[in-house]
Symmetry: C2
Subunit: 405 residues, 2 copies
């Protein structure tokens, strides 16, 4: 039969994201395209032990759980993890989701009607852009610099577009790696409070602060949520995930904020898939709260290793092929956001790179409009040898294209 898809299903079909992901799964492909953590650093043996213990102990671990997520893990998040970050959340103010992407999708579904204006950092997360487009939002970019969004531009966009929401990732914006300054954080928060704009603060990358792995980041870079310091009725929904800090396959992210927002999102969650895996949530809770695993120490380990890989990538970008390229140096996150010479067609470059066996993410996927001369490179997943080989292949591709233009 001829299938008659919904109007907005077509926004998904034109997505390049899925096809890049599919191609990078081929065995021999080196992927600098994705958001993958280093597999070598997963707490394998502790998780294997945990899984065996948790499943043997209680048949309830295999039963349906709460739509909001496993209670003890929510309590641990509220009482331990978030509290230590200055993020005060009331009981009932956390929803566990299938990664932070689901938190974003659920919020979009319960908060955005077709035609509603939403502000985003530009460039921004490809996943957020997809969710907003599927919801029929009018997406308005806000300009930023190396210190974060520009308050003047934000103000003028608010006044012109009357947006319902601002999506931002102040700590290591995906893809640019920008870490907003404290002043900027305060200015942006004040503007949104003054104009009643809901801020969706995505802190999925915030712990990956590799130059300061021995220093508590709370003092210098508090989240917008912590700055507002209202546990209920506030202007910030705080989103995070264990995908980058423990393991993605556990598919556990969260949204934290006002009970009113969270309860509506929980109802949407129940409608969407009843609940995420309570088995995974129990494994995480046991790992974090009972086993010998120490998440803070583990994050330090990740940051030391990611810093090393980052420095290697920077060295490799000093080669002649990249002479006309430019980039800022982030102090965390998972990506380098590289500006290529004017006029370079990044989609043609991608085809060439894929032919050589390496993948990257083209800038337009992270941009409301444009982004055509940018590419996003991931430095956390490939190990030393893979990074060397992958960057050699990338250099070849860039050289070929620079010669042509």
């Amino acid at each position: 039969m001829k299938y008659d898809f919904s109007a907005r299903a077509h926004t998904l079909l034109s997505s390049q994201l899925l096809s890049i992901r599919t191609q990078t799964r081929r065995g021999s492909m080196i992927s600098l395209a994705e958001e993958l953590p280093a597999e070598e650093l997963f707490p394998l043996s502790l998780l294997a032990e945990t899984a065996s213990t948790v499943i043997s102990a209680d048949a309830g671990a295999l039963q349906y759980g709460d739509p909001e997520g496993y209670g003890p893990l929510r309590e641990w998040l509220i009482g331990d993890w978030l509290k230590a970050k200055g993020v005060a959340v009331a009981e009932g103010g956390v929803l566990l989701t299938t990664g932070s992407q689901q938190a974003i999708d659920l919020l979009s579904r319960v908060y955005i009607d077709p035609g509603d204006c939403v502000l985003v950092e530009n460039p921004t997360s490809p996943g957020m852009l997809q969710a907003l487009r599927m919801q029929g939002a009018v997406i308005i970019p806000v300009q930023g610099d190396r210190d974060g969004l520009l308050p003047d531009h934000l103000r003028s966009q608010i006044l012109q577009h009357r947006p319902k929401m601002l999506y931002a990732a102040p700590s290591f914006t995906n893809p640019s790696g920008v870490l907003w300054s404290l002043t900027r954080r305060k200015e942006i928060l004040e503007l949104c409070i003054a104009h009643d704009v809901l801020i969706v603060e995505d802190d999925s990358y915030g712990d990956l602060h590799f130059e300061r792995y021995n220093e508590h980041p709370l003092g210098k870079y508090p989240s917008l949520y912590a700055l507002e310091n209202v546990s209920d009725g506030g202007h910030v929904l705080y989103i995070g995930s264990f995908s980058k800090t423990v393991a993605p396959a556990l598919r556990t992210g969260w949204a934290a904020g006002s009970r009113e927002l969270i309860s509506v999102m929980a109802a949407a969650k129940q409608m969407a898939d009843w609940q995420s895996s309570s088995l995974n949530q129990r494994l995480l809770h046991h790992l974090l709260d009972v086993s010998a695993f120490d998440l803070r120490e583990h994050i330090k380990l990740l940051n030391r290793e990611y810093h090393t890989r980052f420095k290697l990538m920077i060295e490799l970008l000093k080669r002649p092929a990249w002479k006309q390229s430019s980039y800022e140096l982030p102090v965390g996150g998972m990506f380098l956001w590289v500006s290529l010479p004017d006029g370079m067609d990044v989609n043609a470059l991608l085809r060439c790179a894929l032919g050589k066996g390496v993948a990257f993410l083209p800038g337009p996927l992270c941009s409301v409009n444009g982004g055509g001369q940018y590419i996003r490179l991931n430095f956390t997943h490939p190990g030393r040898d893979e990074l060397l080989l992958g960057m050699n292949l990338m250099s070849e591709a860039v050289t070929e294209f620079t010669a042509r233009s």
Copy 2:
């Protein structure tokens, strides 16, 4: 701040489903309301062993996976499980989802625009109704009897409403437990093919066929998908789940059908949550394809036990309290759908029952409109003692209400 939710978020807020679920999670409550399998029968030790083996063996088990789901599990589904049911699926024709509910939600999002007409059995799955309402569908009920949907009524509803889709569960409809006859299956399928109506066939309960646990059900009750026998471009999307047959906490369901439909749903899946837990999918695959676990034997065990519990519930329904109630006797599924005396307010009855410590599902949650004199009782989760106590409390509640009216 005052949150300004999307228009259809309000369809979720008025949902009684979430509040019943929340209440039944209280420790002392006996729940006859939910769709829970018997915990005592979960393959605990095999799964504990499996988890330890799978996680220790390969760090890839904790990494991001494919949006479509873990390849070897999809292959097992296509090449073993579905094939044996006469369900022929092409490679690329299966999407793994977070339970069958997510398959339903994703399909609704990519196929239904606000105002589109969708036909449903009446009564039908509360989860399906929620997903359709959230999507803004116009939901049209089709009448049925103990053999399945009535072809004449289906034809007239198709001609009058020009629906895009029919949602049906021919094998043990939730909540009524109807098992469609072969003739009816053929008639309904032919009508939908003739009028190009997509059928969403939910077979989540199809294996729970407790009177015929020693007989292969394929011969007598083939799925609509198997009857059409087209692996690509067909009129049926076939939906199922491991939640009822292995364990719900693994949150693994699937949609199988035409590659075109599946690829669009996979794109929506990626937008919604990137992917379900590939760890859980690997655990399932190892359990089903490598370990000593035999799913077919396990299902026979479930059906023997569920049949015993079913017979006990039937016995308990012979008590005087239920004299004016009526019900059909299903030969499978998880529920009894009981019609109470005219004029009984099932929502008031629910409040009374909850006060006594027992929960059931009120009929209106399963109905497009009406359903007010029905209740749904689950017999698979409570063990013998719990069933006795729960049904005693239910009898008390019903007696009180019958005396009043």
